[in-house]
Amino acid sequence: MTDALLPYVDGELGATQASRVAEHLLACRACREECDRIRFAARAAGALKAVAAPYGVFENIEATIDKESSTSAGATAGPVESGGRWPNAAVWVAVAVLDLLIFGLIAWTVVSAPPSALEVTALEGSPKVQQRGNTGRDMLAVGEWLETDASSRARIRVADIGQVEIGPGSRVGLVTTGPDEHRLSLERGSMRAVVVAPPRLFLVDTPTATAVDYGCVYTLVVSDDARSTLRVATGRVALERDGRDVMVPEGAMCEARKGIGVGTPVYEDASEALLEAVRRFDFEGGGATALSTILAEARPRDALTLEAIALRVNEAERRQVRSRLEQLKR
């Protein structure tokens, strides 16, 4: 009953449940006191005030957009003095010393700057970076693509956070790499990522979703029809698209399809009937029939799937899902 008190106070319960709670409150002093506490906290939180965005924020945003969208015509050379006399020896020495200092500064900057490319190693066959055949090692720079044919595989070392094995028949690009984000784009084929890093540091775009690492081992396959399939071996990965994201835990999988988006996470050891029903529900308009099968086949562990589905169905179906979830909890 305690769990129902907050939704009751917040007006989130249906009429029947609300009247049940109200009846219970008449008889239960502890719950009445708890209700008072909730009401008090809710009223206190209601005192929160909006804080208007400071003046000039939008102008900053516009300026940044302008700056980023303006096409760089390249650095304009500064004015160059010409003619005149040759400098004397002292000036030459000063220029040489200055050159050395500048060279040293540039070298230090290059060495200390974060890498803008990732190391690629051929594991089998001859993977190609930008069409360059590669039987050993190469570097994949930002904006470049690595391709493997039917008989080749490659490994990309993702800075110091992990590595990604690229399967045969794949095309993968490096979108960005730096201290805040490493992002690949898997256009087709398969990859297996082993990453040990803070959440959201390693991301992979596919044509239908973005896989966001939360510290894990996972495989991602993009088929010819652009369908993305994520399978998580350890840890967690989020599959995101269009503001919707689905957290996929260890042992679970999730698909995303073109024109539809991200589907429902489901444990791979679920029954065949449940897996099939989830596929029909997500991508083939399976509707109520598929939902019935999902509810009937769900085990307690499949609460993962039911909770995700509860967010996407109408109120009547949501009640069915919740009711099943309650049964599974017992």
Binding site: D3, L6, A44, A47, A53, F58, G243, E307
Partner: protein, 196 residues
């Protein structure tokens, strides 16, 4: 609770603005900022407790919005979809900065301490300061649901969608948040004007 801009209903105007934004219309983009800028800033402010961070997050959110608005398909509320971006930006910023400034002092500093001579209005204001401070002391996981619920008046469904969590998790986090707030703000129960 809330503020005028957040209270703007999502009408067809939103859809028009969004469509125009997709075609790079800056005036339409400004329109969206005017409609949602304060809400975005308020969420970031109450989440971080740091005016500078709130400003940064607001800018990041609208820069992101400018680039991804084409991905909004209209099958969920734009407001909720936008708040998802806000929640991610808040979380990313929190991780990036690793630690946030101690909220209580900053908040009280930002709002300014009220003077005894300012009667009922000042009392009310002090309450809101204390509430903001108490909310800032919640763990980040509890903080966002509370802010979305009571500042933006989102339903459980909408909070679940904005945060990418189940409704059960929303209810659980709100529950824990309420308990913590009731404990921390218990001394306000008898505040003058509190029940007014």
């Amino acid at each position: 609770m809330g503020h005028p801009r957040a209270a703007v209903k999502e009408t067809v105007d939103d859809a028009v603005l969004i469509e125009q934004c997709r075609h790079g219309d800056r005036e339409a983009f400004r329109g969206l900022f005017e409609r949602y800028g304060d809400a975005v800033h308020s969420i970031a402010w109450h989440f971080s407790g740091d005016p500078a961070v709130a400003k940064d997050v607001t800018q990041q959110v609208f820069l992101k919005l400018f680039t991804v608005i084409g991905q909004y398909r209209g099958d969920s509320s734009f407001r909720t979809w936008l708040f998802r971006i806000v929640a991610n930006a808040c979380e990313d910023e929190r991780r990036r900065r690793r630690r946030w400034l101690p909220f209580v002092d900053e908040t009280l500093g930002a709002f300014g301490r009220v003077r005894q001579s300012q009667l009922s209005h000042s009392n009310r204001r002090e309450v809101s300061d204390e509430v903001a401070a108490a909310i800032a002391e919640l763990s980040p996981k509890l903080r966002l649901p509370i802010v979305l619920r009571y500042l933006e008046e989102l339903s459980y469904d909408e909070i679940a969608e904005a945060l990418g969590i189940s409704m059960g998790t929303v209810a659980s986090r709100l529950n824990r948040g309420h308990r913590a707030l009731a404990d921390r703000l218990g001394h306000l129960r008898d505040s003058i004007g509190w029940d007014a």
